[in-house]
């Protein structure tokens, strides 16, 4: 999944809430604001839907960075989805940082449907930070390489 030799490019998984951030990302598209192509977007109904398992599983599968973006507090289509999630993310981020995972690997942001520009700048910022960190190694589950095991 990663070629370290020539200009390694990080892969970032983004969970965007359907009503605000996903719409914001679409607005970024409509206004043709460019941002680095390292982000793969997953649409979720609300930032409150993002389970810590998703973020940890992404880190384990070798994603170099994770971004979770939702509506600004008070704008949530589901009233309190983002507010409940905020506490969950706070505990998760502090614990992962404590265990030794680089804080820039896991990012959270509030992007409303009208903030196309902000979405592009958040993504650019995350990509640059992750690129500075290099490929993800901590918590990544090493996959067996087919070549050196087939010896019988």
């Amino acid at each position: 999944m990663k070629n370290v030799e020539k200009g390694w490019e990080p892969r970032i998984l983004a969970f965007l809430c359907n009503w605000c951030s996903y719409a914001g990302a679409d607005l970024t598209g409509i206004s043709r604001i460019q941002y680095p192509p390292n982000v793969r977007i997953v649409r979720v109904p609300c930032s409150g839907r993002v389970n810590p398992y998703y973020i940890i599983k992404a880190l384990q599968c070798g994603w170099d960075g994770v971004l979770v973006s939702g509506c600004h507090p008070g704008d949530c289509h589901y009233i309190s989805g983002n507010l409940v999630a905020r506490r969950r993310f706070a505990v998760l981020k502090d614990l992962l940082e404590y265990v030794g995972i680089e804080p820039a690997r896991v990012n959270f942001s509030w992007v409303s449907a009208a903030e196309g520009g902000k979405f592009a700048s958040v993504v650019t910022e995350v990509v640059n930070e992750v690129k500075a960190l290099g490929p993800a190694k901590r918590l990544v589950k090493v996959r067996i390489e087919w070549k050196n095991l087939k010896n019988r």
């Binding site: 384990q60 506490r87 969950r88 505990v91 995972i101 990012n107 959270f108 942001s109």
Partner: protein, 316 residues
């Protein structure tokens, strides 16, 4: 300690005879030195089996979950708080549980005593007041109890059970000005790389025996997240990444619920100090949401609640 034991037995006898409870869960002498073992008393004449001294380290709150009959539980400060959390989370109806609170001055950590004696095996040990008398093949020692207390007891701020129905003996003075997060702060002071290697080293010893999950009263899920199949979240092998994730997620699951009773660190057969993770979680929840677990039956758990002014400095 005998005075406490006597009044504990009287209380147990009274509860049983007045049919207030069908069963008393307490401690009885174990088969090995410095060991006590949980005992279940339902007849008044067995009440003599109940004992109390500072080697009663098992967390009896684990036996309270899903109890159908009425139960009286001997509970130290941490056990009582955990029973409160289990009641608040509807795992056992309040009217089924009578908390027999015992003021506790800290329980002895067997591993500390054993590592002090390195090779020599302890054949006999008794706790008298502030001293532990330890006898082996050709040695006999008198140890000061306070040098061998469990880590969590050294900084315990709830020696008297905050929630209880009956109190055995009188209250003991509480520790007030003690910083319970010193170990966590030392780890936080390290660089990220150093911390990562530290946790790598510690958790690589894990053999996935799940004793930490089995002994923790907060782990009552019918199917644990490691055993789930659709989808299989994380592997069950003792591969380092799977093991670290198991411990990280279990720490997340006790956020705002763990009372630092220290049972998970005590029970770990390969001596992993799990309190380093759990204590950090307790610190996060305390600093961010000023919440301390197990102090009231009504309070909503922090991760089931929100306030508009919750800190969000980490959000872009």
């Amino acid at each position: 300690m005998e005075k406490l034991e006597k009044s504990l037995r009287e209380i147990a006898e009274k509860l049983l005879s007045e049919k207030k409870v069908d069963l008393i869960i307490g401690y009885e002498r174990g088969t090995r030195p410095l060991r006590t073992t949980p005992c279940f008393v339902n007849k008044t004449e067995d009440v003599q089996k109940l004992i109390w001294d500072s080697s009663c380290d098992n967390n009896l709150a684990k036996y309270v979950v899903d109890r159908k009959e009425k139960v009286g539980v001997v509970a130290k400060g941490c056990d009582a708080r955990l029973i409160a959390v289990c009641i608040a989370e509807n795992q056992v109806p309040k009217e089924n549980v009578i908390i027999i609170g015992v003021p506790c001055l800290g329980v002895v950590d067997r591993k500390k005593v054993e590592s002090k004696l390195e090779e020599k095996e302890i054949l006999e040990a008794t706790i008298e007041g502030e001293k532990i008398k330890v006898k082996g093949e050709e040695f006999e020692l008198l140890l000061a109890k306070n040098d061998f207390l469990c880590d969590s007891c050294l900084t315990c701020k709830h020696r008297n059970p905050p929630i209880q129905d009956v109190l055995v003996g009188e209250e003991v003075p509480e520790l007030t000005e003690v910083n319970e997060f010193t170990e966590v702060e030392n780890l936080e002071a390290m660089a990220a790389e150093e911390r990562w290697n530290h946790f790598n080293g510690e958790l690589s010893k894990c053999i996935r025996c799940y004793a930490c999950r089995s002994v923790c009263p907060l782990c009552y899920c019918k199917t644990c997240f490691v055993d789930q199949s659709i989808p299989t979240w994380f592997g069950k092998t003792n591969d380092l990444s799977d093991t670290m994730i198991y411990h990280i997620v279990r720490a997340l699951h006790v956020a705002g619920r763990c009372v630092d009773c220290g049972a998970c660190s005590r029970v770990c057969p390969v001596n992993i100090n799990l309190r380093e993770l759990m204590k950090k979680i307790e610190k996060i929840v305390k600093e961010r949401y000023n919440f301390k677990a197990g102090l009231s039956l009504e309070e909503a758990p922090p991760l089931g609640d929100f306030k508009s002014e919750d800190p969000q400095e980490f959000i872009k």
